[in-house]
């Protein structure tokens, strides 16, 4: 029987990889993929606790997260395409509209 720590370590590792990806990559598409990674790390945690605690709520919650992630991916990709049409770039360093 695999102890729950393994699952949690896997989730934390995935989440850390996602965070580092978001913070360090320059391509918007890769950043979006990193965000997906972070969400799935959370999903692993939810499933693990659901299994460990014998409670179905965690699994339901995971389904919801997957749904939100799909919606988020749709909106995010739409924004990216609109941005690309205006700026003709995918490099996040060239997008600094939020500066003062």
């Amino acid at each position: 029987m695999v102890p729950i720590q393994h699952y949690l370590i896997l989730g934390a590792a995935l989440f850390t990889i996602g965070v580092v990806g978001v913070l360090t990559r320059r391509n918007i598409m890769v950043i979006l993929m990193s965000i997906e990674l972070m969400m799935n790390a959370v999903n692993i945690n939810l499933i693990a606790f659901s299994w460990r605690l014998g409670h179905v709520a965690g699994q339901v919650f995971a389904i919801f997260v997957i749904t939100v992630a799909a919606a988020e991916a749709a909106v995010g990709l739409g924004i990216v395409i609109a941005m690309f049409r205006n700026k003709e770039t995918m490099n996040i360093n060239e997008i600094d509209l939020m500066k003062w």
Binding site: V19, V22, L23, T24, I92, N93, I95, D96, L97, M98, K99, W100
Partner: protein, 687 residues
């Protein structure tokens, strides 16, 4: 047709003529303009004649017919001086009584003849339609004046005729002298109108009404109740104020100066306005207010003295004038003086009688002089006339009749009316032998200057220059026929008012209801004034004798080839110059009033230029300077403060600004650290 109820229409016919001619006359043929204008007056005359005939069919004491068209003014409560509460109510009303019936027949009848005459006289003039429009407007105003049933209506007509007089004197407005004369007439009349307006205000303040009949009844009742007595100051005040108005309009001393200058207008205007009708408005007004004057014998005395002096003064100037129209103008002033003399001695009927006869022969003389001027191509100086008798025979004959009439030849109109006045001046209880003497002397002077005019114009050697002499021609029928009608009038009009020793005085009897005395005492006095017939005949003989002397002096001086005129002029050089220069009254008035008014104007102009304008300009300059100052303040101090604050904040905030890079990943990094901090705090409790 009931003409009596249609008297309000009478002024409207000329008014319609004025509107049509004034608006469309420029595009209408001349014949249409002239016919329309004269026709409008003719219709007015027919209506007037019909109304007067119907009035004469009424019983004597019902011969006051008032037609109220509508209530014109009904304004606020007022309190009279005697404490009665009343309202200021004025009707747009018309009144026909024996006095206004005389006036309306004279005005429309003679007015019509003059309109016809003008068709010939003005034919060649520019602005033919303008002339007739003004003339019709004048007829409207004059008819309003004499038919109005209250003082305010009369005042409207009074001002209207004043306006028309101004417009028509200034008809040749391109001539400076005509424009000046028009202005003079207008300004001098303003002085008189001030008096009339004051009188009207006093009447309302005293009686609480402006209606002729109401005021008359109020006086009668007041006398009966002992409320009013003869010589009360208020009556003298009203009478004198009204007389100031009469002096202005009827050219009495001291306000007569405008009338001789008014001869700058076309001759028909002089005949209609400045001889026959408008200038008699003052006489009419005093006669209309006779019950007020009856209550103020002192004011009557003033009227009589002013009238007598004016008659003498104007006749003296008329003796030496060389302009044919100016002689007639001074003659008019003098004859108006006669009328006021008659009014002043309480012989109101005699004054109105002379008004009527004078209207005939003076209109005739003016129109005749117009015919002469027409024939002479606008030459008015009698020294350049002479021997015109056979060249313009109709004009000569009619003017001779007019001259005989005004000179007081027995049997003609002037004789009856003038003798009535002289007799009343002598015998009436307000009369005085000195007044009679002045009147008699004036009769001689009148005879002299009129025959002088006749002889200088029509007899003797021709002094006409060669060029003009070839073109002298008799005037067309349209001008001579009115002359003939007026000549007939000048002969027969006098028989309406025969002296008592000769027959019934129809005219005086007709006017009796208007001039009945308001006090029993005055009535008794009038009865006592009837002297013997022989004395009256004697006085008439004296005045005829004086007139004959005047004629003989003129005959020997101007008909016989005599150098007496020159000799007398050199011998009494000072007097002659004074007369020729109209006693220097114009110069006196210039010095006393005109130039003082101009000085005042100039002074005010300087005050305006220096003080008022200076004030305004200084205000403007200081405003500009102040604006520059506050502009500087705004730009550098107020704006400076705002910009300083903004700049300070901007400059001081540079380190914080550095954190705002705009890169999403930076913000995300800060967020991650924040989350780590929170998680760390939750896990370990402290930092």
């Amino acid at each position: 047709m009931n003409f009596l109820d249609l008297i309000w229409l009478i002024p409207l016919f000329p008014a319609a003529g004025f509107v049509i001619n004034g608006l469309f006359g420029k595009r209408m043929p001349k014949a249409a303009v002239g016919t329309l204008a004269a026709g409008a007056v003719l219709i007015a005359f027919v209506f007037a004649a019909g109304a007067v005939y119907q009035l004469s069919q009424l019983p004597e004491h019902e011969r006051t017919h008032v037609v109220k068209v509508y209530e014109w003014i009904n304004a606020g409560p007022a309190v009279t001086t005697s404490g009665e509460e009343t309202r200021f109510v004025v009707d747009w009303g018309f009144q026909l009584d024996p006095l206004s019936s005389v006036m309306v027949l004279v005005v429309t009848g003679i007015g019509f003849l003059i309109h016809v005459y003008s068709n010939g006289y003005m034919w060649e003039e520019d602005g033919f339609y303008r002339f007739f429009a003004y003339l019709n407007l004048f007829m409207f105003s004059m008819l309003t004046l004499i038919l109005g049933s209250n003082y305010l209506m009369m005042f409207i007509g009074w001002e209207g005729v004043g306006l028309c007089s101004y417009l028509l004197i200034g008809y040749y407005f391109h001539k400076k002298s005509a424009g000046d004369a028009a202005k003079k007439a207008f300004v001098v009349n303003r002085v008189g109108d001030w008096g009339l307006a004051t009188g009207i205000l006093l009447i309302f303040a005293t009686f609480g009404s402006l209606d002729f009949n109401t005021v008359g009844e109020a006086i009668k009742e007041g006398v009966a109740a002992g409320q009013y007595t003869v010589s009360q100051p208020i009556f003298i005040g009203i009478a004198l104020a009204l007389f100031v108005g009469a002096c202005g309009k009827s050219a009495q001393i001291p306000l007569y100066v405008w009338l001789p200058d008014a001869m700058e207008g076309p001759t028909p205007v002089s005949a209609l306005i400045h001889a026959a009708t408008m200038v008699t408005a003052g006489v009419y007004m005093v006669a209309r207010s006779n019950w007020i004057y009856q209550m103020a014998p002192e004011a009557l005395a003033v009227v009589a003295i002013v009238g007598a002096l004016t008659a003498l003064f104007a006749a003296s100037i008329g003796l030496v004038q060389n302009d044919i129209k100016r002689v007639l103008a001074y003659s008019t002033v003098s004859q108006l003086g006669y009328m006021f003399l008659a009014l002043g001695v309480g012989a109101f009927a005699a004054g109105v009688f002379h008004l009527m006869t004078h209207a005939f022969f003076k209109a005739l003389l003016f129109l005749g002089s117009g015919s002469v001027i027409h024939a002479m191509h606008h030459e008015q100086d009698m020294r350049r006339m002479g021997a015109l008798k056979n060249k313009i025979p109709i004009t000569f004959l009619t003017m001779a009749i007019g001259t005989l009439a005004i000179a007081g030849t027995p049997g003609l109109a002037g004789f009856f009316s003038k003798d009535e006045i002289l007799w009343q001046a002598f015998s009436s209880e307000h009369g005085h032998p000195v007044l009679w003497l002045i009147g008699a002397i004036v009769a001689g002077m009148t005879s002299f200057y009129m025959f002088r005019l006749l002889f200088m114009t029509f007899y003797g050697e021709s002094r006409v220059d060669h060029h003009t002499a070839q073109h002298i021609h008799e005037s067309p029928k349209v001008m001579t026929v009115p002359l003939m009608v007026l000549a007939v009038g000048s002969v027969v009009a006098g028989y309406l008012g025969l002296p008592k020793w000769l027959g019934p005085n129809f005219f005086e009897h007709w006017l009796e209801p208007v001039f009945e005395s308001v006090t029993p005492a005055v009535a008794a006095g009038e009865e006592a004034a009837h002297h013997s017939a022989s004395l009256e005949i004697g006085m008439a003989a004296v005045s005829v004798a004086i007139a004959v002397i005047g004629f003989l002096v003129a005959y020997t001086t101007y008909y016989k080839k005599s150098d007496r005129a020159e000799r007398v002029a050199t011998q009494f050089r000072g007097l002659y110059q004074a007369l020729l220069n109209k006693w220097y009254v114009d110069e006196l008035y210039d010095g006393l009033f005109v130039n003082r008014a101009k000085d005042l104007g100039r002074g005010l102009w300087r005050f305006d230029g220096k003080i008022v304008d200076g004030l305004v300009n200084n205000t403007a300059v200081s405003t500009v300077k102040g604006a520059l100052g506050s502009g500087w303040w705004d730009r550098y101090i107020v704006d400076g403060l705002v910009k300083f604050v903004g700049g300070f904040v901007k400059t001081a905030s540079w380190p914080i600004r550095l954190s705002e890079t705009g890169y999403t990943q930076n913000y995300a990094l800060v967020m991650v650290f924040g989350v780590l901090l929170v998680v760390g705090y939750v896990l370990w409790g402290t930092l």
